[in-house]
């Protein structure tokens, strides 16, 4: 059990800066997922917590102790690597028990603890095998057992599921979650997979280009993305975004010849402003031609439980999730309804979310952590 505080942490390689001042706080026992596209600095941040990368600037504190100058072994973290990093010349038992051996734990105690840990991850029968004789999922379990046996305060996971096939990934995801409930150690899990992120996280951190874009509970982030980046990164298919200008007199947002109805509060607060409107594909509704806004079906993706239609909407392609009983074919003219209450409004230049309080029409900024400074840079 340990809490982690990250203060103004920066990382640069030579002159290239990869992390530009990260501030985060993880409570003890929390399951934190850091989500971002490749190259956003999420793995670097994790490795800095682990002590495998030097910290260029700022401070990392684990359990109230600044760890900047500490060796990895002194930080009380255990890590599961993306490629598992099992020692190929050692048996499963030796792999799991290596940390204890280094720590000088007597052989008898070591053996019982290895057996106990192997049982937790379901590897009891494989202790004498070499990693090469194991399947991908079993190797993953060895890697987890190796981390568990040290009873660490902090678990670090560096994209541990990305080398597994889709079915196994779902199983291991559930097991990691169960394991966390059982051990309740603080866990930091880095991934680029939004499904992993949504399902595992108590707290979700979305990163982009070395900045934190948004921190929050997964559902909050899904329902109130702090920027167009978060909006388009989370959700499959991603949120539809369209550049509009809000009409000052009518409650509509104009995009070319289209007039998208918006809540009166928005037009009152933002009249005349250039914004980006967003709406999730799940919220778009498809109507018969003549109703709603005109759109033409571009192509259809079958999902079995429903289908995704991609429609040409003005100069944009919008995705809309529709139930299986609505049949459309490419080329069909349809009507598209965008429920006003589900519209998200973003600043056109900075991409930051704009919240309009419906009752008063008062303009407010979303309270995203350290949102303002990096927005200017990202645009």
């Amino acid at each position: 059990m340990a809490d982690i505080t990250i203060r103004a942490v920066r990382k640069s390689y030579g002159k290239t800066a990869t992390l530009h001042g990260i501030d985060l706080a993880f409570a003890s026992g929390e399951f934190v997922v850091i989500l971002g596209p490749s190259g956003c600095g999420k793995s670097t941040l994790l490795r800095m917590i682990a002590g495998l990368e030097d910290i260029t600037g700022g401070e990392i504190e684990i359990n109230g102790r600044v760890v900047n100058a500490l060796e990895p072994r002194e930080r009380g973290c255990a890590m599961v690597f993306q490629n598992y990093a099992l020692y190929p010349h050692m048996t499963v038992a030796d792999n799991i028990g290596y940390a204890l051996k280094v720590a000088g734990v007597p052989k008898a105690e070591r053996r019982t603890r290895i057996a106990e840990t192997a049982r937790i991850v379901g590897l009891g029968d494989y202790l004498e095998r070499k990693p090469a004789a194991l399947s991908g999922g079993q190797r993953q379990r060895v890697a987890m057992a190796r981390a568990i046996i040290r009873e660490p305060g902090v678990f670090l996971f560096d994209e541990p599921l990305s080398n597994l096939d889709a079915t196994l990934r779902v199983t291991m995801r559930a097991e990691i979650r169960k394991l966390h409930q059982r051990l309740s150690a603080t866990s930091v899990f880095v991934t680029h997979d939004q499904v992993e992120a949504m399902t595992l996280a108590d707290k979700l951190v979305v990163m982009n280009k070395g900045h934190v874009e948004q921190v929050g509970q997964p559902l909050d982030i899904y329902h109130r993305p702090a920027s167009t980046f978060v909006a388009s990164f989370i959700g499959a298919p991603p949120m539809n975004l369209i550049d509009c200008s809000i009409d000052a007199t009518d409650a509509v947002a104009r995009h070319e010849h289209l007039a998208i109805p918006v809540p009166a509060a928005i037009s009152a607060a933002l009249g005349g402003r250039a914004v980006t409107l967003g709406i999730r594909p799940e919220e778009c509704r498809v109507l018969p031609v003549g109703q709603g806004l005109p759109a033409r079906v571009d192509f259809v993706e079958e999902l079995g439980s429903g289908r995704i239609v991609h429609v040409a909407f003005g100069s944009r392609i919008f995705a809309a999730a529709i139930p299986a009983d609505i049949r459309v074919v490419p080329g069909d003219l349809i009507g598209l309804a965008l429920p006003e209450a589900q519209l998200h409004v973003f600043h056109r230049e900075t991409g930051k979310r704009i919240d309009v309080t419906h009752s008063t029409g008062r303009l407010g900024r979303h309270q995203g952590q350290d949102a303002a400074p990096q927005a200017a840079e990202a645009v």
């Binding site: 973290c77 255990a78 993306q82 490629n83 990093a85 099992l86 020692y87 290596y98 280094v102």
Partner: protein
Amino acid sequence: MDKRAVFRSWWLPTAFALPQLALIALFFYWPAVAVVRWAFTLEPPFGGSAEFVGLANFREVFADPLYWNSVLVSLTFALAGTLSTIFIGLVLALAVDRQLPGSGAVRFLYILPYAIAGPAAGMAFRFILSPERGLMASVNAVLPDFWNPAKYGSHALILVIVVFAWKWAGYTFIFLLAGLQSVPKSLTEAAAMDGSGPIRRAIDIQIPLLAPTLFFLTVIMMTEGFVGPDTYGIVARTTDGGPNHGTDVMVYRIVEEAFRGLNYSGASAQSIVLIGLIMIFTFIQFRFIERRVHYK
């Protein structure tokens, strides 16, 4: 790879291979056959017809205590040379692999001695470690005769082993560094997370994974120590096989017997025994060590 281009005629590929075949025949098979023939005949030193003597040459060689001395010296030289080159190369490679500042420059420096001819290095070390003027002279001033390779065979043997190690450590270093760089970085990182320090990591993780490279280098360095041209060159330039046959390695003895003693037959018999020894060593190494090497 199932489609192969095949020559239609037999003479064209033969013509392409001919220069290489001629070279091998001239400089390898012909001398080898000549050595075998000489080993079983008595070759007159100043020409004339040779007489078949069966195994008499071998009996004479095995009866000579100086021959057995040279076998012992060669064994000591090859074993000590192999162990010290691999050990030094390994320590240097582990240090350079940590990629501390300046490791690029020292990597170059460590490889450099390999580019120097063994005899030249031997000449240099004769002066560097000369008992009267060299590095050890000040020790000798306090403890007379503490170091005197001109007087004691054991000191002279240490001297040639030092020269051999100095030159060949750069060679093992290249291979070991390449081997270390192919050990996935995440393994040493995982070991670091498991609480293991740099030296413990080297012993527990890196060296076991270097086993194939270490095995390869053992075979190569043992062969080099026994029959390598450098071994002859170093001994000839540094100690001349002396003092009192203290550094009389087998290759040196063979060349001396053949070209100074003009005993072609005896030298040929010794060559054949040497080749046999090398084959036995290599066989033992492959038979008993290779199977313990992890290639995965």
